[in-house]
Every structure is written in structure tokens, then in C-alpha cells.
Amino acid sequence: MKLPSDVAVDQSGRIFILDGTADTVRVYSPKGEQIFTLGGAGILKQPLGIDVSPGGDVVVADSGNHRLALFAAEEKTPHYIDVPSSVNGKPSDPTDVNFGPDNTYIVVDNDNHRVVSMNRSGKLLWSTGTMGRNPGEFRFPFLIDIDRLGRIYIVEAINTRVQVLESNGKFARFIGEWGIEPGQFFRPKGVVVNEKNEVFISDSYLGVVQVFKREGGLIGVVGDSNGKITKFKTPVGMAISGNRLYVVEMFNNRVLILERQGQ
């Protein structure tokens, strides 16, 4: 794979890696054996974000085609859901998607600096955000995750923060800020929230993954058992399954799986 961007893990432990430059989703067994692929040329066009539902459905944010591609569990032929253009007519740029509550999709529209919610039929339920720095505004939102309660965590690459929205799209808070100190971001890219509501946020230029409380307080930085910060090469999308953290190292063309020790 070349320059993968995101990763998702289903309930059986299968790993879905989005090899977007090849327009392909590569599916691996928990042991790392490639099982099958989804998509391909003509189906996907340089997608960036992926999510897997508890039922095994796979949804891909296909930015090049301005749409979502839904691969029903164990199906290879997708169902497409167009992401609507912005109000000023600019085509959508869906860079990530998550299965939201109540059979919705929460979609990041990167070029239009907004987040939208759509039902399974593709109907726009709500849209929030314009380009800006204030709460409810975005500058290049990129990848997202949703916690157990439906709260939406959106990484803003240029605003160098994670903006948290309520499940209905209302602003809740920011996590992190501009800077290079712990708890700050220079190029935040990926976000994933675990069962404990710990929020893992990757920084592709600093090469670290920091962990925050849901409320925003810094818990720490991912490191090894010796207390040394683990440096990643361009960490981007992430996933969590059990006590394992899956980190896409885009520039290294790989996914690292880290297993948590202790609490």
C-alpha cells in the first residue's frame, strides 16, 4: 500500500486499511494476513476516511467522488451515497465518515469546512460549520470519531485542535490547541475515542499520539514501557479495539498496532 490514511477494526478483529491512493480498502485478519479487498479503480477515487459498523458494514468517505461508498457486511459491491455540495455550490470533499447514532452518517466535508449528518438514504439531516476559527467553525476538518454517547470529535488540521460536537451538531468544546508542548498540536490528523472516553489524537508532523480526557485535559503521550515517547512517522488515522491501538503511519506505508499495558 502507498500512503494509507485511515484504519478501522471490526468486532471480529479484522483490520480495514484504507489504501486510498490505490482506491482500495485492504482487509487483513487479526494476524495480519490480507483477506480481501474492497473498492478499486472506478469505485473509489482517492478516499481518505473509513469506518466499520458493529454489524460489519464498511463505509468509505470517497473524497474524489464526493460521496460515501457503503459496503454492506461481506459485500463487495458498494452502495453509493452522494454527499451534497455546500450551499454555495462547491462540491463536497468528504474526508472521513462515521456511523452515527440512529442510522446516520457523520461526514466531514473538508473543503467546505463543515460536518454534516445524513441518514442512510443520503438525506442531509444537519450541517454545521463554515471556515473560521471560532466554535462551530472549522479550518480543514479532516478525520473524526464518535464516542459511545454520540459525541463527535473532529480533527481540524489548520486550526490545530479537535472540536467536539454534540450528537446533534452543537458545539461542545475544543480539545488541544496550537503549539508544540504536550497537549498542543502542530498537525493533528487522527482521532479515536475508546470505551473509557479517552481521546487519542495523532500529530503527523510532531509524530506523536496524545491522549486526552473527554473534557479536554491531557492524560499523556503514547510511549513505551520505559517512559519514552513513541515517535511515529506521520501518524494519521487510528482505531482502537480492546486494548490495542492501530495507528496509520502514512509516509511509512504501514499500520502500527500498539498494545496497552497497565491502565
Binding site: 500500500m1 502507498k2 500512503l3 494509507p4 490514511s5 483490520i15 486510498g20 487483513y28 495480519g32 482517492q46 481518505l48 474526508t95 473538508n110 476559527r133 471560532n134 480543514f140 479532516f142 488540521a157 489548520i158 486550526n159 490545530t160 485542535r161 468544546r173 475544543f174 480539545i175 488541544g176 490547541e177 496550537w178 503549539g179 508544540i180 508542548e181 504536550p182 498537525r187 490528523k189 503527523s204 508532523y205 510532531l206 509524530g207 491522549v211 479536554g216 491531557l218 499523556g220 503521550v221 503514547v222 510511549g223 513505551d224 514501557s225 517512559g227 515517547i229 513513541t230 506521520t234 502514512m250 509516509f251 511509512n252 506505508n253 504501514r254 502500527l256 498496532i257 500498539l258 496497552r260
Partner: protein, 913 residues
């Protein structure tokens, strides 16, 4: 392009979370208050901590300004703001992180990194000009790249317009839409103009040299040059360009050039062409066009030192003269020289040909106009062997007339031979090519040359033997000798040498005027007379059958009037015998003289000129051939024998005249009659073999001196004939012995005496010298008991031997004494081997045709001291009586004795005791 490492799969790391020391962080609010942050988004070095000189727990101290470096750019262009992953990082892109080569000149306005390398910021900046219409381009380029001017500022050599680069900033045709579709940028000046970005892109190329990928036609060049490329599915007979996208299976490093190949080692436009910095004067080629083709096609050029006609490929670099009327225009450069491209066109060549500049036959005919006259003749195999295939398994219908026999490359033999040859070494001469068809099993089996045919490989010994070598070409062998071959007489491409028209399109039966002869033959002497000049003196002579036997047919059932003066006796091919004999033989010829007797026989066309029973022998072995200027027949054992043609030149009536005959049937003399040397005044011909006998000329035995009106038995008068003829007849002689042609006298004891007495008789030509006495006894008596043989043996060999003769007149050591024992009738004075004075001279004992040594050796052996007187008075009976004291037997008595004893009987064994 920087290569990304392949995917390496999942690592499992232990992870712990720890909290490093950190300032209190607050959730980001309105960020506009921190304007420096906006700069530091790219200018990482400008972050406060670094400016203060330290790093943080998350990142080490950054002392370099990395704003324009790759990872800063990638940190946004990874899809988080713009997705350039594929275009910039996976596909080909302008090189970065490298020192500029000496091929580029980078102006100062395009900054390099701290260590002098090209980085993204060399070309790009967030602080760019705003002149471009495209916002993306405006944002990130340092200056306007209108008409690709920015590219040209660094790539100066690639942009200079000195006819070593593809022209830019000009163009008459619109740039194809396909190029725009893959990212080409239109010229802002004129959308027809070609600019760098018409073909190149700084990011996103899949081809070398940052070229656009054009999947539809596989090659970029053909979008603008569609006529130079054939669609992959184009049928062969529609293709008009050199194949592209075919695998090149040779070593691409040839002739100092590395042939550029595309994916899968396929040929592409750039295999032959260079778009930039190509050699001046070429059409954007990697090498001059005179030798470019041979890089890949070395087997199509024959670099051997062989003569052009022997090369297996059409010669190159030779001058040619183009027929101005030809509709095929060849490219021979400025000096009309044959290059590959003279016959071939790489682009827009004749459909269905091997990249030829014209249809096969027309193309060949452009230079080989004369040779193309073969069209529709018997040598046009579409007429005579339409199903025949050449070595390339091509039929005439497929390839045309010329290719049936010649192929321009990889020929099987000389003259670019196109026919299958089992053993190339067998083609040792040009004529062997002809025989590949003209043999019993060949396609020209009906036109073979036969066993007896005009020879080839014949050295032309005399410089002027062939008077017009331009018309009748010879073949120069490796030893420098020039020999005639089939093509000396035949031009295989031209049916009628006098006609400028092609053939009739039918299988035509040839005549001496056609048949691919270089000159007319038969009734026209042009061809044969070119070599056989002297043989043509036969015209108008008695051997010209239009004169002497006009109704006579040769083996081709043609008369001399129909097929020419040579034809009654000779045909060039399928002759009946040696000398290309043109007449039927009743019996197998055994010698050249057999040919003469083919006519000079009873009921033959020359039955009035037969030889008779008694004729000069042929097949006679000649010992001394060195001084003999007459032709002989050499036998297989190395010896030589005389034949009719030794004395006769059947083609020349008079050896003294270099001209033809009078055209009438003329009775010959000793000066003509096809004799190789005039024999009338002096016996120059006979003398070539019978030299000493020719000394009779002018002596008393030259009847023209002593009896000019005497007649021989043929009724010929001495004064009108040669010196020999009063006594001898070469043909039709009355006597076999000595071919005697004068009256024999009955009084002689043997043939010699009869012959001598025939003349030395009362009514004979030698009536003034009648012998009254002197017949030597045949029997031994008077006590002489020695045999002649022993006497002769005791004398030993001598240059002037003393001969004995049989009764029949033949020399034999067992013979007897007769007239010729003491007299040599041809030598007047044995001490002087010369001809006579031409006057009738009274002889003495030292001349009078007496042999040298007869007296001192032969006579003395028996007669001792009496010899002197006996010799002196040999023919005086009275004197001899007084000398010997006995009466000598008369001639009648001797004759009587001879009849009682068989002639030639060995006296030694039967001698009287």
C-alpha cells in the same frame, strides 16, 4: 521520483501513557489573536520555543527553516487540506532534496535549501504573485509561470530555440484536448502554442521526464503528431509508420547510444527521437539519420568489404541518379546517396510495405529503371511461374516483380538473390544464379542450356576481344581476371535490346532478336561478333550456307537465312556436340574433325568438297608443338594432335584478308580455301610442319621453275599451284603414299622409283634428267654381305638420316636402297637448308638433292675406297664399269630380281651367302 518503501506490516508495540511536564493548556479559542501562529504553520522554525533556543517534550530543537521542505508540505498535502499524495508523492514529480545538476541554471529568485538543494519552496511559496488565472497556481508558485516561462528560467538548454529542441512558443494546430484532460496547461499567448507544460507537469507524471500520461494512445507525442503513429489494431496493410510499443529484444546499448525504451522494453517515439538537445540538422533524432536505423537493424546493412553486388544487403552510401520523371521521390540527402531512408520512410510510408517510400516495384524502378523492363517479360514470374515463392515465402502477387528474384536485405546470394539456395558456396559465379532456375528441375526447366552450351567463366584474353564492355559486361573474378558469364550476353531484365517497351505480358518464345540478349543475334551479327570478330569473316564465304546451302536446316530446323550465318553450324545452347555444333550427327563425334566431316561427306551439304580416300591424315600426334603456330587438339594424355582446323580456319576464307567473303560460291586456291596460311607462292602452311620439305621451293624440283606447264594428276598446272601440288595432293590424292599426285612410272622397282621415274621420264616434267643407270641392286652380291640395317646402325643417328624404303614407299630401317636413300627431293644442297634460287641449275655431286653423308657413310660401308668414283658416276654405267670392272645390272635386270623376292623382306635374314 522518490520511491516509497513497500508496505511493511503491522508492528505490535507496547504502549503506555505518561504525562510529560507541560504548561497548562487551555482549549483553543479565537485564534486570530495569535497571528504569528499563521506564519509558523509552515515556518516551523519560527515557533517560540525554537526562537528561544530549545525544544519541548514532544519535539527536539529545530534550528533550520524547514518551511519549504517536503515533510512540511506533506503535512498538509496528505489529504488533510489537499490530497496531493498521488500526484506528488506516488507519481513522478520534479526532483527535490537534490543538488541542482549542471544542466540547469537556477536564478536567485528561486531559493534552495540551506545545503543548496532543490526543495518544494524553490518553486513554491505561499507568498506568490497573483497574476495567474488559476487560484491554485497563483497561491503556490513563486512567480507567474505564464507560458511556462518559469520552467525555462532554470531549464535554459531545454528551452533554447536553436533547432536542438522541440519548438515552443509557436504552433499552428490546437493543442489536443487529451492533453488538457491529463493536465496540460494552455499557453496564455496563443492556445495553439506549445509550451513546456503542454507535455510536462511538475507533479503527477507517470512517464519519465515528467511527461503526461496519455492512456488512450499510449504515447504523448502522437497526440500532436497523429500521422506518425498507427493505431495498435490497425491492419498490417494499413500501417504507415514504424511500429511502436513492440518489445525491443536486443541490447539497447548500441553504437554509443542507449536506446530509450518504454515499459516492457517497448519501442516508443523517444527510442529514435530526442525532444531536447538533439543533434543539429536531425529531425529531433538521437543520432544522425544516416546511421540511426542501423542501431537497431545492424543486420540490414552489409559492412563487409565485398563488392556491392556480392553484399547480402542493398549497398548503402553509394551515389545514385534519380530519374527526373519518376513519380517516387527518394530522399538521398543533398548528395543523392543511398541511405536507409532513401528507400524507407519511418513515417507515412507506403501502406502494406516494409516501410518503403513507394510501392515495391515502383520504388526499385526509380533507380533501376532499366532493370524494371523485366516487367511482363518471361522473367516476370507472374507470367511464367506465378505460384513461385521467394526465400521469404512471398509470392509474386504479394511482393511484385523484383522481389521474386531480389530482396534488399539478407539475400541468399549475390545480386541480392531472393531464391532459396541450398549451398551458398555453390553460387561461385553470377551464372550460377541463372542456373538456379534454368536447370532440369527448376522453374525454367524448359529453358535449360543443355550439355553442350556456350561456355562461361571464359577469360577474355585479349584486351580488345570484347569491344564494348559497357554493353556486354564481364565478371571480374577475385584474381582480377575478367571472364564472360551468362549476363555478358543476356540482360535478364530486358527482353528486347532494341525495344524500350516492357514485355507483352505473355510467355513469349524468344528469337535471336529477343530472348534477353543484350544485342541482337542470328541474322544480326551484333552480339556474336562482339567477341567472335574473326569468326564473322565467314560471312559470304563458302562456309556461309546462305551462299552454298541456303536450304540446309540446323537442329532447330532453321536455315541460315532464317537464323543467321552462324546458326547452320552453331547454336549457343542445347548444341548437339562440341563447338556448339548445330547439326545432327549420324555417329558420335570423336574429334573436331568429325564436325567438318558432318558436311564434307557424300550427300552432305559439302559433298562436292569431300576429302577422298587419300587425304592428309588428322589425329596425327605432333611432337614439337612449341614452335607450331597452328591450333592442335590436346588429348587427355597431354599430347597434341592435328585436326582439320590445324590447317583450316573454317571461318576465314583467306588468311591474308581481314574481310568477309564475296558472297558467291568460289573455287579455292592454295592461298585461300580457309587455309590458316597462304600456301601458293610459298608453302608457308605446309612448312609449319614440313619445314625442310619447303626448301624445295625455287629448286629444280619446284615445277614452277623447271616445268611450269606440267600437269599433275588432278589436271592442275604447276605454275598455277603451290610448290607442293605438282607432286602431292592434300585431299583426294590419287595415291595414299606420299599423297602422290603425279604419274607413277612402271619402270621403277618400288614406289619411290616409280614416283621419281614418273617425272624423270622421256615425257615427264623431268625429262631432261632421265635416269639411264643407277638402279641400286636389291639383292646383295659381289661379296657385299653387310646388311643395310647394321650399316645404318653403325652410322648412328644423324640430323640428316639416310633412309631406306619399303617397296610401298614407306621409310623403314628394314627397307632398301632407293632414290630417296641418296636423294632428298626437297633439299637441293644438303649443306644449305634453304630454298632454291628459283632458277634451273645444273647440279654437281655436292648438291643435286643428294643427302649429306650418303656417300661417306652408307656407300663407303660397302664400296670402300671405290666409293668416291662410284658416287661420282653413279648414274653413268660406262664409268662405273671401268671403276668396278664389272658390268652393272640394268634397270630391267634389277626389276626382274625384285619380282622374284618379296619387297621389304629382311635381307639380313635372307641374304645370299
Amino acid at each position: 521520483m522518490r520511491r516509497l518503501s513497500p508496505f511493511s506490516f503491522i508492528l505490535i508495540l507496547a504502549v503506555t501513557l505518561f504525562l510529560p511536564p507541560a504548561p497548562n493548556v487551555q482549549a483553543a479559542g479565537n485564534l486570530t489573536q495569535n497571528s504569528a501562529r499563521e506564519c509558523a504553520i509552515c515556518h516551523f522554525r519560527w515557533i517560540d520555543q525554537f526562537l528561544e533556543g530549545h525544544g519541548t517534550a514532544l519535539v527536539g530543537y529545530e534550528k533550520e527553516d524547514v518551511a519549504g521542505e517536503e515533510m512540511i508540505c506533506f503535512s498538509c498535502h496528505d489529504g488533510s487540506t489537499d490530497d496531493s499524495r498521488k500526484k506528488v508523492w506516488i507519481l513522478d514529480r520534479h526532483k527535490t532534496d537534490m543538488l541542482p545538476s549542471d544542466k540547469v541554471k537556477i536564478p536567485k529568485m528561486f531559493p534552495l535549501s540551506q545545503d543548496g538543494k532543490v526543495v518544494c519552496a524553490t518553486c513554491h511559496s505561499a507568498h506568490s504573485v497573483t497574476t495567474d488565472t488559476s487560484i491554485e497556481r497563483t497561491i503556490f508558485l513563486r512567480i507567474s509561470n505564464k507560458d511556462s516561462i518559469m520552467c525555462e528560467m532554470c531549464h535554459v538548454d531545454q528551452a533554447v530555440q536553436d533547432k536542438t529542441n522541440h519548438p515552443t512558443h509557436e504552433g499552428k494546430r490546437p493543442i489536443p484536448k487529451e492533453l488538457y484532460a491529463v493536465g496540460a496547461v494552455p499557453s496564455a499567448t496563443d492556445t495553439n502554442f506549445v509550451i513546456c507544460e503542454s507535455c510536462h507537469t511538475a507533479h503527477g507524471s507517470v512517464e519519465r521526464n515528467l511527461l503526461f500520461e496519455v492512456k488512450k494512445q499510449s504515447t504523448l507525442c502522437t497526440l500532436c503528431h497523429p500521422g506518425e503513429y498507427d493505431a495498435p489494431n490497425a491492419p498490417v496493410n494499413k500501417q504507415v509508420n514504424h511500429p511502436l510499443l513492440v518489445e525491443f529484444k536486443q541490447n539497447p546499448n548500441v553504437g554509443g547510444v542507449k536506446i530509450q525504451l518504454g515499459p516492457n522494453n517497448n519501442l516508443e517515439c523517444l527510442s529514435c527521437h530526442k525532444v531536447h538537445q538533439f543533434p543539429k540538422g536531425t529531425k529531433a533524432l538521437v543520432k544522425n539519420k544516416e546511421s540511426l536505423c542501423q542501431l537497431c537493424h545492424p543486420d540490414k546493412a552489409d559492412r563487409s568489404s565485398a563488392a556491392d553486388w556480392q553484399k547480402s544487403n542493398h549497398p548503402l552510401y553509394v551515389k545514385y541518379k534519380l530519374d527526373p520523371a519518376s513519380h517516387v521521390k527518394l530522399d538521398g540527402g543533398t548528395d543523392n546517396t543511398v541511405y536507409c531512408y532513401t528507400c524507407h520512410k519511418v513515417h507515412q510510408h507506403e501502406p502494406g510495405t516494409k516501410a518503403l517510400a513507394g510501392q515495391r516495384d515502383s520504388l526499385c524502378a526509380t533507380c533501376h529503371k532499366g532493370e524494371y523492363m523485366v516487367d511482363k517479360t518471361d522473367h516476370d514470374l507472374s507470367i511464367t511461374a506465378k505460384d513461385e515463392i521467394n526465400v521469404l515465402k512471398q509470392t509474386i502477387k504479394q511482393t511484385g516483380v523484383c522481389t521474386a528474384c531480389h530482396i534488399p536485405h539478407k539475400a541468399t546470394g549475390p545480386y541480392l538473390w531472393a531464391r532459396k539456395v541450398k549451398d551458398p558456396a555453390s553460387l561461385s559465379s553470377p551464372s550460377k544464379l541463372c542456373l538456379t532456375c534454368h536447370n532440369d528441375k527448376g522453374i525454367a526447366a524448359k529453358k535449360t542450356v543443355g550439355r553442350f552450351t556456350h561456355p562461361v567463366n571464359v577469360a577474355m584474353q585479349k584486351a580488345d576481344q570484347l569491344k564494348d564492355p559497357k554493353t556486354l559486361p564481364l565478371y571480374t573474378k577475385t584474381d582480377g581476371n575478367e571472364v564472360m558469364e551468362c549476363h555478358t550476353c543476356h540482360n535478364p531484365h530486358r527482353w528486347d535490346s532494341q525495344s524500350s517497351k516492357k514485355g507483352k505480358g505473355i510467355n513469349d518464345e524468344g528469337t535471336p532478336f529477343t530472348s534477353f540478349l543484350r544485342k541482337r543475334s542470328g541474322t544480326d551479327s551484333s552480339l556474336c561478333a562482339s567477341c567472335h570478330v574473326e569468326q564473322y569473316y565467314v560471312e559470304g564465304t563458302d562456309h556461309d550456307l546462305t551462299v552454298t546451302a541456303p536450304k540446309e536446316n540446323n537442329i532447330a530446323k532453321q536455315t541460315a537465312g532464317q537464323s543467321g550465318v552462324c546458326s547452320p553450324c552453331h547454336v549457343p545452347h542445347q548444341a548437339s556436340g562440341p563447338y556448339l555444333w548445330a547439326r545432327k550427327f549420324d555417329t558420335k563425334p570423336t574429334s573436331p574433325s568429325s564436325l567438318c566431316l558432318n558436311c564434307h561427306v557424300k550427300k552432305g551439304p559439302a559433298d562436292k568438297k569431300t576429302l577422298g580416300q587419300n587425304t592428309h591424315p588428322v589425329n596425327v600426334k605432333i611432337e614439337d608443338t612449341y614452335n607450331l603456330s597452328l591450333p592442335l587438339r590436346k588429348l587427355s594424355d597431354g599430347t597434341s594432335v592435328m585436326e582439320c582446323h590445324t590447317c583450316h580456319d573454317p571461318h576465314r576464307w583467306n588468311s591474308q584478308l581481314s574481310k568477309k567473303g564475296k558472297g558467291s560460291n568460289v573455287e579455292g586456291t592454295a592461298d585461300n580455301s580457309f587455309l590458316r596460311s597462304a600456301n601458293l607462292e610459298k608453302p608457308t602452311l605446309c612448312a609449319k610442319c614440313h619445314l625442310r620439305k619447303s626448301f624445295v621451293t625455287g629448286t629444280d624440283h619446284d615445277m614452277r621453275v623447271t616445268a611450269p606447264t606440267s600437269l599433275n594428276k588432278s589436271g592442275k598446272m604447276a605454275k598455277e599451284e603451290s610448290v607442293c601440288s605438282p607432286c602431292h595432293a592434300v585431299h583426294n590424292a590419287p595415291e595414299k603414299t606420299l599423297l602422290w599426285n603425279y604419274t607413277l612410272d612402271d619402270t621403277g622397282q618400288d614406289f619411290i622409283e616409280k614416283a621419281c621415274n614418273g617425272c624423270h621420264a622421256k615425257n615427264g616434267a623431268g625429262k631432261g634428267k632421265v635416269i639411264s643407270s643407277g638402279i641400286h641392286p636389291k639383292q646383295f652380291y659381289f661379296g657385299y654381305h653387310k646388311s643395310y640395317r647394321n650399316i645404318l646402325l653403325s652410322i648412328g643417328p644423324s640430323p640428316d638420316p639416310i633412309p631406306l624404303y619399303t617397296k610401298e614407299g614407306k621409310k623403314a630401317v628394314s627397307g632398301e636402297i632407293t632414290c630417296s636413300t641418296c636423294h632428298d627431293p626437297h633439299i637441293w644442297d644438303a649443306n644449305e637448308d634453304t630454298a632454291g634460287s628459283g632458277k634451273n641449275i645444273e647440279g654437281t655431286v655436292v648438291n643435286s638433292f643428294l643427302r649429306k653423308g650418303a656417300r661417306n657413310e652408307l656407300c663407303y660401308a660397302c664400296h670402300g675406297i671405290k666409293t668416291l668414283l662410284l658416287y661420282r658416276f653413279y648414274h653413268n654405267a660406262n664409268e662405273k664399269k671401268s671403276i668396278l670392272g664389272i658390268s652393272m645390272p640394268t634397270a630391267d635386270q634389277v626389276e626382274s630380281d625384285t619380282q622374284r623376292q618379296p619387297a621389304g623382306e629382311d635381307k639380313e635374314n635372307n641374304g645370299v651367302k
